[in-house]
């Protein structure tokens, strides 16, 4: 499941979407999928932070069917 947080939810018009996971889908594949489907999110392919099950994920991490994926902005406190 791909979960949209904060501003992303408004821009995507959805709380979450399902993406079909094919064999050995990787984080990069998800990022590309979302970038194409929701260009308005402006997810930068070089700098976007991708989190899988609340853990920061590398781009080549292989995904499982029940993984929850989200994209984080930079948060560094006021």
């Amino acid at each position: 499941m791909i979960e949209f947080l904060g501003t992303q939810r408004t821009l995507a018009g959805a709380d979450s979407i399902e993406m079909p996971i094919i064999t050995r889908s990787r984080v990069d594949d998800v990022l590309e999928y979302v970038r194409n489907k929701y260009p308005q999110l402006k997810l930068d392919k070089d700098t976007a932070l991708v989190v899988v099950n609340q853990q920061l994920a590398s781009r080549d991490q292989v995904l499982k069917a029940d993984d929850i994926i989200s994209f984080l902005p930079f948060i560094s406190g006021g």
Partner: protein
């Protein structure tokens, strides 16, 4: 208005960000003096926090308390605090000896007061003494007068309110008209009764056509103000705010400002989007990563949290499409507000009011009391502002007593009512009683540190128990360090942020170091050495912002895309380069990043010396409650048992987990306590401190701070 003392003066012109003038007002003797600062003073103390620290170091002693006549209430902007061409200026610092901690506190605040004080001729204002009658101070750069006047009396409701009194005064002294040539600070009725009274910075917002308020919220600065008999200070200047710092190199300032505004315009909409949502956007991310301080920081998430997410406030309360910067030229514009909100509770029920906020911290404070009602967030926000009390300390203190009640340390006999998590009626009653100094509110107004002692005494007497043993239990979940309540982030899962709070010189407020995401989520600080280095670097750079009159959010919460290509993206160095350009163009200096870190380290060491002198400077004062480092009670462990068991194996070095969950919880606590002590050791070493947290004499000397007082102090400390 009855003027009790007035002087004429010639406002000094701002040049390169400074006027080199300090305004000193003694409310006891009613002396008003304009002091010319030595030419090298600014080189050593920069401005803002630096000027406040120097005043407190020189003018107070270890015996000075918040309500001592010699305590000084300092308000100071910095050399960069007045430039509409650069985003995020207008900030100033309120510094003093705190009623909460007994040592130096400062709180940074936006609005127009700092810039107008500078245009009226002053880098800083220092108020001492205690007036027998309630007074206001009027600084009029146009009329070239400075006056102490008897506080005007309107009607009780207006006079009691920090918002209403300041609002009325600003209009009253300007022939019934609001103007952005005037600004004020004010403190309210709550500051007479609670130790955590705040100071509002009030300014006229030409877009909303009303007076707005930002807060110097932490540490009881408003309580100090009212203890001095001072209700408000108004400053006026009609000088142009454009090029307000009168920079040495105007073109350089414009170029730096343009570059920064481009970064904000490009990056903020694709990141947190603070310009649209304000800081309430943080609630969802904090909840997602178990950082939202639910039920007195027991749980980082709640199924009800979504009721308090940003879209709720945006859809139902915030005025949309109004650029809401708290000073001119800010394109981050995060100071959200709401109009015509009808109050449903409290003495003003039925009234429609304008509300500045809520900020994330207000939302977190309400969740801390286990309440997830956005309407109550709005009303809590307004009442705290009108009473003039800190939303953070108020919420954390009430939440602490709620937990005391639920764990059986308090009963209805003590409080007068059922004080339970999630009860709006109970929280609301406690809020109003606190501000009015009535009933159990008299105790709640003292804050968590003093509240622990009161509860322990009551409980021990009732149960024939040892007070020390009760205190030890209360220390597990009384969320304060050095006497100041935690701000609204759970630190259990970020060792770096445990240090960010515990080692913060003023107490656990996040403006010294906020490392949770860098550490816990982005995993950019994997080793103890990394965490210690961050706990040296971030407080220093953040100190610089507090010394120069700048907002930090543009640097820290909007990541410059170019930072990705740097070795340490979290430092956002490409953006910092624009700040250094702005500094050098304004003051004519040629400083590097290392130079400004050195300038900040001088201030940091001076603040550490003050803490040592006030008895809050050693390792013992840097210790944090158990709940800040681990699940303090078994119910907290159970709520994330799988995660904690995994942590024990992966991070705790445990090869074989104990069989029983209670044993695993106990082992987790042991490991977390060990880790925190190791962190303290590493950070002290990195900063050149002894294992007791005392700065080495050579460091104090290196920054030119080893005067006779410092020598004696370090002698007493055995250094």
């Amino acid at each position: 208005m009855e003027i009790v003392r007035q002087i004429k003066y010639k406002p000094a012109r701002v040049a390169g960000g400074y006027t080199d003038r300090l305004l000193k007002i003694d409310l006891g003797s009613r002396e008003i003096a304009v002091e010319k600062l030595a030419p090298d003073f600014k080189d050593k103390y920069t401005g803002g926090r630096g000027y406040a620290l120097k005043a407190i170091w020189d003018g107070t002693t270890g015996d000075t308390r918040y309500d001592s006549p010699e305590n000084i209430l300092v308000m100071a902007s910095g050399p960069l605090g007045n430039e509409p061409g650069f985003p995020g200026t207008g900030k100033f610092i309120v510094g003093t000896i705190s009623p909460m901690t007994g040592t130096f506190i400062d709180s940074n605040v936006g609005g127009h007061f700092g810039p107008l004080l500078k245009l009226a001729g002053f880098d800083a204002l220092a108020v001492t003494g205690i007036s027998k009658e309630e007074v206001v101070i009027l600084i009029d750069g146009d009329a070239r007068t400075i006056a102490i006047a008897a506080a005007p009396q309107y009607d009780k409701e207006t006079d009691d309110g920090a918002l209403s009194f300041g609002d009325r005064l600003l209009k009253d002294i300007n022939d019934g008209q609001y103007s952005d040539c005037l600004a004020a600070v004010s403190a309210g009725k709550g500051a007479l009764h609670a130790r955590y009274g705040l100071i509002h910075s009030l300014y006229y917002d030409i877009r909303r056509r009303r007076i707005r308020a930002k807060q110097a919220g932490r540490g009881g600065t408003g309580t100090v103000m009212r203890a001095k008999g001072l209700k408000s200070i108004v400053v006026r200047s009609s000088l142009s705010k454009a090029n307000g710092n009168n920079p040495v190199d105007k073109k350089g300032v414009r170029a730096a400002g343009r570059a920064m505004k481009q970064v904000i315009n490009k990056a903020d909409p694709t990141q947190l989007h603070l310009s649209a949502w304000g800081t309430t956007i943080l609630s969802e991310y904090m909840d997602k990563f178990h950082i939202f301080p639910v039920d007195n920081y027991q749980y980082g998430q709640s199924p009800d949290s979504a009721k308090l997410f940003a879209h709720v406030f945006l859809d139902n309360y915030f005025s949309k499409r109004i650029p809401d910067g708290c000073y001119y030229g800010c394109n981050l514009a995060c100071a959200k507000g709401a109009e015509n909100v009808e109050l449903t509770r409290g003495p003003a029920a039925g009234r429609k009011v304008s509300i500045d906020g809520p900020e994330y911290e207000t939302v977190g404070a309400v969740a801390c009391m286990g309440i997830f009602d956005p309407q109550y967030v709005m009303e809590y926000n307004w009442y705290c502002d009108q009473y003039g009390i800190d939303v953070i300390s108020t919420g954390v203190t009430i939440a602490f007593f709620m937990e005391c009640f639920e764990r059986g340390y308090l009963s209805v006999d003590d409080t007068g009512y059922e004080l339970k998590f999630g009860s709006i009626a109970a929280a609301d009653r406690c809020l109003h009683e606190t501000a009015g100094g009535r009933g159990f509110g008299k105790i709640a107004g003292q804050g968590v540190a003093r509240g622990k002692k009161w509860v322990a005494k009551k409980y021990a007497a009732r149960n024939k128990a040892s007070q020390d043993e009760v205190i030890a239990e209360l220390n597990k979940f009384g969320m304060e360090v050095k006497g100041l309540e935690f701000s609204m982030y759970i630190t259990k899962e970020s060792l770096a942020q445990q240090g960010g709070y515990g080692l913060a010189l003023k107490g656990p407020q996040h403006d010294e170091a906020w490392l949770i995401f860098i550490d816990q989520v982005y995993q950019e600080l994997p080793t103890l050495e990394d965490k210690a280095a961050a706990l040296k670097w971030f407080p220093l750079i953040r100190t610089w912002f507090n010394a120069t009159g700048l907002c930090k959010l543009h640097w820290i919460d909007v990541r410059n895309p170019e930072a990705a290509a740097t070795d340490e993206p979290s430092k956002n160095l490409p953006t910092l380069a624009h700040y250094i350009d702005y500094l050098n163009a304004t003051t004519g200096s040629r400083k590097s990043l290392q130079d400004i870190l050195d300038d900040s380290e001088r201030l940091y060491i001076l603040q550490k010396l003050i803490n040592l002198r006030q008895g809050k400077g050693t390792r013992a004062s840097d210790q944090i409650p158990l709940r800040a480092m681990a699940p303090a009670f078994f119910n907290e462990y159970q709520s994330r048992a799988e995660y904690y068991d995994l942590w024990l194996g992966q991070n705790g070095g445990v090869k074989k987990l104990p069989a029983s969950p209670k044993q695993r919880h106990k082992l987790l606590i042991e490991r977390r306590k060990r880790d925190y002590q190791q962190l303290c050791d590493a950070v002290y070493e990195k900063k050149g401190f002894t294992p007791e947290g005392i700065p080495g004499r050579e460091i104090v000397a290196r920054f030119g701070l080893l005067d006779e007082k410092a020598k004696r102090l370090l002698d007493e400390m055995g250094d």
